[in-house]
Symmetry: C4
Subunit: 232 residues, 4 copies
């Protein structure tokens, strides 16, 4: 068995879900899977079509972004993944896509307001949109700084990465994460659906109110609270 | 043969239609099928992916919401189904989805105006949007109260559940019903299409008029009136 | 071989194209195929799902709307087809759908402006939207009058049915026709695409100008003029 | 082996990608593949459905638009392809489609603003929209003049065909090109996605700002600059 086989397979399976769920065109996305004991993650190789992926082609990278194993060059977004794994000890998977509706919100530089229970079933807050970085950071170690941009945006809003598992990077596109790569992919699909519904909601009623607090609390807690009764 | 086999299979088949018709993402929906003689209904287990469903996994619940048979936990929306079955003696199936366009109207807190014959072929009225519940009801027995919220909205508009087999729950999502679970699923797909057409109609002409009464009457009656001539 | 076999098969094949092209939900559409020598047409039976259709189930009707052969009830729109076949001697097929974007324009009670060459490749004119009928006509022989409503709208705009093979019936949905049922189905798919593009065009630029005459003429004539050079 | 076999197959494969990628309805598009040594290109025959295409049916044309080999009539847009191959020495493939969102922008007569990194990953500029031609050029050798219209639009904006591999022809539809026919098809799919995202971006925030220069530069250079690190 190849080394790091478990995260290779988890990353492979999760990457293949992106085209299956309609979240990527061509190679516009990537998923990684972390092995906390080994201090590494497996990530999609850069620019390789999904149809050509195999677990063996996943690239193994440590939490400082150094390639540990694999013959291919890792995703160009690898340093963003590395920064988040290094600082967020509990996450096991990260996804980046350019999914259509979430990306349109990112390009609009607006957070996605919480308009309904589909949103509240997953988050209690507007989905934040990180402001574009300062020019000197962009010109420097861009992908590395993107990781800090994400962390800083959560910090400014006093949010933990456990409270909200998705973010829009302004002018760019969404990132999501979770305890496993499969959960992070799930979050990407949910975000895309929430983004589409919010766009339609504003088109139908440009004065649509945010969801009221009691409903946010109820829907979030029935799925995620101490007395949750959703699922098995 | 397993007990309640007929409603298990009817609920299973109807649930499987939701992803086939594009009405659900992941597990965001559920269908139930009632056995009026036995005073119970079969409903989707909570949070189980459609691909893993079987008739045997359906949960049997009575009209007070008590689980009668089945090892899994029923849908978190079970009490809403129970309330409606208990009060509406003629219905045999209920569907809840978060289908994209119908949910966007629900989030917009607007009823869907009757703009054309596609709508009139199924209803003679705007599709009502129930107002969000009072905070104390939300904090209490939420799903149970959602059933009453639906019934009260129809009552306020002097509508019977036979006249209109679909409703939007404000800020939340649609519910539909019918004489059978298959008919209730049909109603969910029709509602989603009507919701999309109404959104586009307002985008194309923000002063689009409601359908006039003579056309509403004609189209509804050719399908549902005493001298109907649609179908076999 | 069954009587009227050729038009039974032509109508069957054309009807089956409607779901394949995404133009119908459930049974919301119908195609007919005419046999000019026999003075009859074959049309979809009313309310029968596409998956259950066969050539033998097509209903044979004369140009006065009288059923000549077949055990099922014909489409509820049969009289509209009959009127058009009776008055338009050169057409061999008619299609009625509730395709999403064309129906939204019909509900908006607006003609579709000619905004580009995709439109001009098929028509030189805005696609007309017939005004809703007078109430007494609706209450009377509605489908029969719909045929005259279509003919009158073309007459008022001094158009022949050869110049434009598609129309929107206001508040209702589109009808298309052509020399064969296959051509009429093609026209329905083209109309749906033109309707979607025109909606998007106005959303992107609400002052988008109509296509200028020289481009209308050029594109139409390269496909349909005496010196056409499109196709084989 | 048939003469010009390599470009016949390349053109065939690339044409078949258009329906697979959802970029064409019926026959509304065409791809060509150039053989620079032989001074010819292979192009789709006019009006032939994609399902009936074969490499042998591709038509071989020289850079003056003269048919060199093949029994079918070439695409009605052949002269546009010929002009571009004649003047742009480095391109190996050209695509023309009427893809929905890109065509809507063309009909709107607006260039597509650069709103995000999905766009900047491929171009550093707004995607230009060529103004409609003068009437006398349209009435004359229309497709030939369309080639010059495209070249002139780039020239006016001081762009080379290597800097930007896509354009909208006002009131008409997009053209894309590239070093190979496969690259040109890729560009058509990317353009369609960019067009859809830009439409949504303006709908969500009608004051959405263009992407700032530092981000344009960074994203373009990480894919295409001298120190690019995208891909293998």
């Amino acid at each position: 068995m190849q080394k790091y086989q478990a995260i290779r397979e988890a990353a492979y399976e999760a990457n293949m879900q992106l085209p299956a769920l309609g979240l990527v065109l061509f190679t516009f996305g990537n998923v990684s899977a972390a092995d906390r004991d080994a201090g590494v993650f497996a990530i999609k190789p850069s620019g390789v079509p999904y149809a050509e992926l195999t677990p063996a082609k996943m690239v193994i990278v440590d939490f400082d972004g150094k390639v540990v194993d694999g013959e291919l060059r890792p995703s160009s977004d690898t340093l963003t993944h590395a920064v988040l794994y290094k600082h967020w000890k509990e996450i096991g998977g990260i996804v980046h896509t350019h999914s259509t509706y979430a990306t349109a919100w990112a390009q609009s530089q607006r957070s996605i307001p919480i308009y309904g229970t589909t949103h509240a079933d997953h988050n209690t807050l507007d989905i934040p949109c990180a402001a574009p970085m300062a020019d000197e950071l962009i010109a420097g170690d861009y992908e590395y700084q993107t990781g800090f941009q994400i962390m800083n945006t959560l910090a400014e809003q006093q949010l933990s990465y456990q409270e909200i598992e998705m973010i829009l990077v302004g002018n760019h596109a969404p990132f999501t994460w979770g305890s496993t790569p499969a959960k992070a992919v799930y979050n990407s699909a949910v975000l895309e659906e929430i983004a589409k519904m919010a766009y339609l909601t504003e088109s139908i009623n440009f004065r649509a109110p945010r969801l009221k607090d009691s409903l946010i609390k109820k829907h979030y807690e029935r799925k995620h609270g101490p007395n949750s009764y959703y699922g098995q």
